[in-house]
């Protein structure tokens, strides 16, 4: 990956700021647990195994779309890197 040009590297890396990383982690966990419960409930009430699996797949695509690509709203508090400083000559 180091041999690619810089613009390609940035797209593939998809950096987001640390606060958003934490939020994405928590959101994904709770969303998936809720999705499991909801899809089991729907599959039990409609008496169809396939329907529950389709609902789970739909929810999974939703959570992947909102968290995997590096959207701008995930990058609102970027890490501030300090400017380059020269060390004192000893």
């Amino acid at each position: 990956m180091n041999n690619l040009p810089v613009s390609a590297r940035e797209v593939l890396e998809g950096r987001i700021d640390p606060r958003s990383q934490h939020i994405v982690e928590q959101t994904a966990q709770t969303f998936l647990i809720a999705l499991t419960v909801v899809s089991f409930g729907l599959s039990y009430t409609t008496s169809s195994v396939l329907y529950g699996l389709e609902v789970f797949l739909g929810g999974l695509i939703v959570i992947l779309l909102i968290s995997v690509p590096p959207w701008p709203f995930l990058n609102k508090h970027p890490v501030k890197f300090l400017p380059v400083r020269k060390l004192h000559q000893t």
């Binding site: 593939l12 890396e13 998809g14 950096r15 987001i16 990383q21 934490h22 994405v24 982690e25 994904a28 966990q29 998936l32 647990i33 999705l35 499991t36 899809s39 089991f40 599959s43 039990y44 008496s47 169809s48 195994v49 529950g52 699996l53 789970f56 999974l60 959570i63 992947l64 968290s67 995997v68 690509p69 590096p70």
Partner: protein
């Protein structure tokens, strides 16, 4: 969570774990919710004993029982329940030998009833031939004057120690995901009497 690939990896691995939990919940819930079946009827019409051979290499001349029977039962609530993929129904004859006291169970006929038309992927786009029974009616088992599929022999080679046999129709429910379960779908009213050997 620091890069696109890492987020994709993490979220899909969480999702596969939760899919396994979902399938486990479905299998437990469907196992607890299996409906009960009204027991139907099996009638044996003809039963004869003849001398014959099994269709195998090195088979000896011994007594074989052939029969014709009727089965009527309705397995629709079982077939259309939550997690059923198909049903295997099989007719067993269970009898006891008088001299040795051994109890034998023989499967003499079986059939698979699928819940829906399972199509091959090569058939996508072609029209299905119109079936006689609708989708909801596939569980009506009604066989009349059917011969036994498998040859019925006694391990000792002769049926002279056997007086009567009980016929039962069992079913095995195969789910999409979960545990195999079985039960009884139809019983014969009285035990059937095994006659004498027909001498040619």
């Amino acid at each position: 969570m620091y890069s696109t690939l890492q987020r994709l990896n993490h979220i899909t691995s969480l999702a596969t774990t939760y899919v396994m939990i979902l399938l486990g919940l479905i299998s437990i819930a469907s196992y607890l919710r299996i409906p009960s079946v009204d027991v139907g009827k099996v009638e044996v019409k003809d039963l004869i004993i003849q001398k014959g051979r099994l269709r195998r290499w090195g088979a000896r001349q011994e007594e074989l029982a052939s029969l014709k029977f009727d089965v009527r039962t309705d397995l629709n609530p079982l077939l259309n329940s939550y997690n059923t993929k198909q049903l295997l129904i099989y007719l067993t004859a269970s009898y006891e030998e008088q001299t040795t006291g051994n109890i034998h169970d023989v499967v003499i006929w079986d059939r698979i009833i699928q819940r829906a038309e399972i199509r091959d992927i090569r058939a996508v786009g072609n029209k299905l031939p119109k079936s006689k029974v609708g989708r909801k009616g596939r569980g009506n088992v009604r066989v009349e004057e059917v011969k036994n599929k498998y040859q019925w022999r006694n391990p000792s080679g002769t049926f002279k120690d056997v007086e009567y046999a009980n016929m039962t129709l069992h079913y095995s429910l195969m789910p999409y995901v979960g545990i195999l379960s079985s039960g009884i779908a139809a019983v014969a009213q009285d035990p059937v009497i095994i006659p004498e050997l027909i001498k040619r």
